[in-house]
């Protein structure tokens, strides 16, 4: 077994080479203790070679999580020492890339240098004397084009050879000098001075080597590269921001829009979501049919618990997939770095990076892909904070809650203002929490924006597809279990009570089911009665609103469905009949009644999902208005549902990004506390008005 570690700067083509080498046989995990991806794979051409993708770093000095991981892996502090390090160098910016090369050479591990992006070097008319460079550095150098796979075989052969010979790189004279400088520095001040001197020594040595081996075509000032021309437009003083907004809007629309480009059709994301949903409902119907002989509770467990949970996971996959395909196009093309460049000015004020804009924007559509989008943020701290605050955004599933309250309790107010103010409130809460987390939790020193702006490149379909597929697979695997288990758990709580287990339910129920007939009697309702007093200060300290919060964790729109079930005295058959009485056949059909015929069986569901979701009945749920009696309380309830723990699917995504239960729990705690405090402020201030 040969252990190979891939090391290189960000954007040097590491991921591309890794995919070349491993094909699809790879495994993504994380390094212990840090949220840095650990990608491992077996080489497809030589099963004896195991490849480990190190995080992209500019240097090995241990100042960020990525650099520490890279350093410790190379030196063998972090598990087994690799047999060979493949250092990938972006030949188009060879000077900066060789800085890391010198540092790896200093660690004295056997190494090969993969000189990547040779196609671009040739195109630019630059000549690199590879054998001269080999002599200067004393290591094997393989020129290659990772994108087309050129040079990959040669690289493998060099790796195999080195694994046998184990020859270590030549130690340049400057290494002695550097060691001495570092050893002599004692005080902090000395150390800082030594750092400057060391960086200077390394770059001077690189300058010497490069001047001997790299011949750049005399660049005339007027001749801009293609990439420069594109950049001139995309980050232009005047058009830069409008273009940015259009690209962001297009991305959002492709994923979430139900009226794509005003064509009246669904966006690819929504379309795929619908298709998956339809196919899944056929499967569910089929399974339900097949098990119709089983005992009622088992049927319910399978259909309403397990299949519902799997359906929730499947339901999110299309959105994750489409958003991820688009994000990898932005990432691979080099535009993502410009997003940060354009938005930095605004986001640094909140202690975040400009890239946080994308997850926050996506949060308006759905929290799940939004949380997963935080993966593209460079710093661990930014990833964590953004993942925590991104579900504050009013995602699509929260809108029915707002619609129901706006149309009833706020029937005589400016309903648009009520809803709109929640959007603003979400943003303000996100900003404030981000600032507080920055200050008190991460105690971060001032962030910096010293970042490479990579060349624009046309992304390859292969890498975009691999990215998208990895995300979907990861979501299905990691978040799937959490979503499934929690959905089943809440299903259990809302359908069972103590009488389920002493036979009383079985005696009472017509169908001999052990489940409880009304949610009112369930474990969940009992729990709601216990926790309700906690919400007293917020103005909705009754059990039914409390249960609504909990069922909202399965999916936020469930709050409305649950209300329709719990306030059933308001949604009687007579009420429904009267409500639908005035509607025409077409209207009834539109709402989902088959053939436009009123059907009392279907009416309750259609009323909840067709009418309440849209805020279509201003007289709805009068009893609810006793539990949530004032406008301040109603607003506080909306705010609480807006900001508190997101649905389990989002929590699953959160766990996937934050890696540990501790960090995930911490994020959820922050969300709950924020929701409580903001709702309390709303209630108190609202009470004064």
């Amino acid at each position: 077994m040969i252990k190979v570690a891939l090391a290189g700067n960000p954007n040097c083509g590491k991921t591309t080479l890794f995919n070349d080498l491993t094909g699809s046989k790879q495994h993504v995990g994380n390094w212990p203790g840090v949220t840095v991806d650990k990608k491992e794979g077996t080489c497809k051409k030589n099963k004896d070679i195991r490849i480990l993708d190190l995080p992209g770093t500019y240097s090995l000095s241990p100042y960020s999580a990525e650099e520490i991981v890279a350093m410790e892996t190379i030196t063998g502090k972090n598990g087994e020492k690799p047999d060979v390090v493949v250092n990938i160098v972006d030949a188009t910016s060879i000077e900066r890339n060789l800085y890391l090369t010198l540092q790896i050479m200093e660690t004295n591990v056997p190494m090969v240098l993969a000189l990547n992006m040779m196609d671009e070097v040739t195109e630019a008319g630059t000549k690199i004397d590879v054998s001269g460079l080999e002599k200067e550095l004393g290591i094997t150098i393989i020129p290659m084009v990772a994108r087309s796979g050129k040079g990959v075989d040669e690289l493998l052969r060099a790796v195999e050879k080195l694994a046998v010979s184990k020859s270590t790189p030549k130690q340049l004279p400057i290494f002695e000098e550097i060691k001495k400088l570092e050893a002599d520095a004692e005080s902090e001040e000395d150390k800082e001075e030594a750092e400057v001197a060391v960086a200077d020594i390394r770059y001077k040595a690189i300058g010497d080597i490069v001047s001997k081996t790299v011949k750049k075509k005399k660049a005339s000032k007027t001749e801009a590269t293609k990439s420069d021309k594109i950049d001139k437009i995309l980050t232009n003083r005047f058009w830069g921001i409008p273009i940015f907004l259009i690209i962001m809007y297009a991305m959002f629309a492709c994923t979430f829009s139900e009226n794509f480009l005003w064509l009246g059709i669904n966006s690819p994301g929504k379309w795929l979501e619908g298709a998956v949903g339809t196919v899944w409902s056929w499967i569910v119907d089929g399974i339900a049919e097949a098990i119709s002989g089983a005992s009622p509770w088992l049927q319910a467990l399978i259909v309403d618990g397990i299949l519902e949970g799997i359906g929730a996971v499947l339901g999110f996959m299309p959105l994750v997939l489409v958003l991820y395909l688009l994000m990898s196009v932005l990432e691979d093309s080099g535009y993502m770095a410009r997003v940060a460049f354009i938005m930095d000015r605004i986001f640094r004020k909140f202690g975040l990076s400009g890239r946080s804009f994308i997850p926050l924007l996506m949060g308006y559509g759905c929290g799940v892909p939004a949380i997963m989008a935080t993966r593209t943020l460079e710093k661990e701290k930014d990833r964590k904070i953004t993942a925590t605050i991104t579900t504050f955004m009013p995602c699509g599933a929260k809108l029915p809650i707002f619609a129901m309250f706006a149309s009833t309790i706020f029937a005589n107010d400016n309903q648009i203002l009520v809803t709109y103010s929640l959007y603003i409130l979400a943003l303000v809460a996100a900003i404030v929490v981000s600032l507080l987390l920055n200050k008190f939790v991460y105690k971060s020193e001032a962030s910096n924006f010293i970042m490479e702006l990579p060349q624009y490149r046309i992304p390859t379909i292969k890498s975009v597809l691999i990215h998208g597929w990895e995300k979907v697979k990861g979501f299905g695997k990691k978040a799937g279990t959490i979503i499934l288990l929690s959905t089943i758990f809440i299903w259990f709580l809302s359908n069972f009570n103590a009488d389920s287990f002493n036979g009383k339910n079985r005696e009472m129920n017509e169908d001999n089911s052990v489940m409880c007939e009304n949610m009112e009697d369930s474990f969940l309702a009992s729990a709601g009665r216990v926790v309700a007093p906690v919400f007293k200060p917020l103005g909705f300290g009754e059990w039914r609103p409390a249960v609504g919060v909990v069922t909202g964790w399965i999916a936020k729109e469930n709050v409305v469905v649950t209300f329709a079930q719990l306030y059933e005295e308001d949604v009687t058959d007579e009420y429904l009949e009267q409500f639908f009485a005035d509607m025409s056949l077409e209207e009834l059909e539109e709402l989902g009644f088959e053939n436009g015929e009123y059907d009392s069986e279907a009416a309750a569901d259609i009323y909840a999902e067709g009418i309440l979701f849209e805020g279509g009945d201003e007289n709805a749920l009068p009893t609810m208005r006793k539990d949530i009696s004032t406008k301040a309380a109603a607003y506080a309830y909306m705010v609480f549902n807006l900001l508190c723990m997101p649905c389990f699917a989002a929590v699953g995504a959160l766990k996937r990004e934050l890696k540990t239960w501790k960090a995930t729990g911490g994020a959820v705690l922050v969300q709950m506390v924020t929701a409580y405090i903001v709702a309390l402020i709303v209630k108190l201030v609202g009470g004064l008005i």
């Binding site: 500019y58 100042y63 800082e192 960086a199 001077k204 980050t235 001032a446 010293i450």
Partner: protein, 72 residues
């Protein structure tokens, strides 16, 4: 004079780096060492950060960070 004082299209040669800590370290690692020639390419649409070119690649940094880079 510092890098901050340059306008897009102008260039300068690094003399020294002020400041301490991570930012200075990062700037050095990215190749901004004494004697390096830096071209200012452009300023971001909102007025900050700036994009510069050195050692054959593009780097972005904030104006405050550019101020720490003293030019000859």
């Amino acid at each position: 004079m510092t890098l901050r004082d340059l306008k897009p299209g102008q260039c300068g040669v690094v003399d020294s780096i002020k400041g301490t800590g991570n930012i200075r370290r990062r700037v050095l690692e990215m190749g901004v060492t004494p004697g390096t020639k830096i071209d200012v390419i452009k300023v971001a649409p909102l007025g900050d950060p700036v994009q510069v070119e050195l050692r054959g690649y593009d780097l972005s940094l904030r104006k405050d960070e550019a101020e720490a880079i003293i030019l000859k």
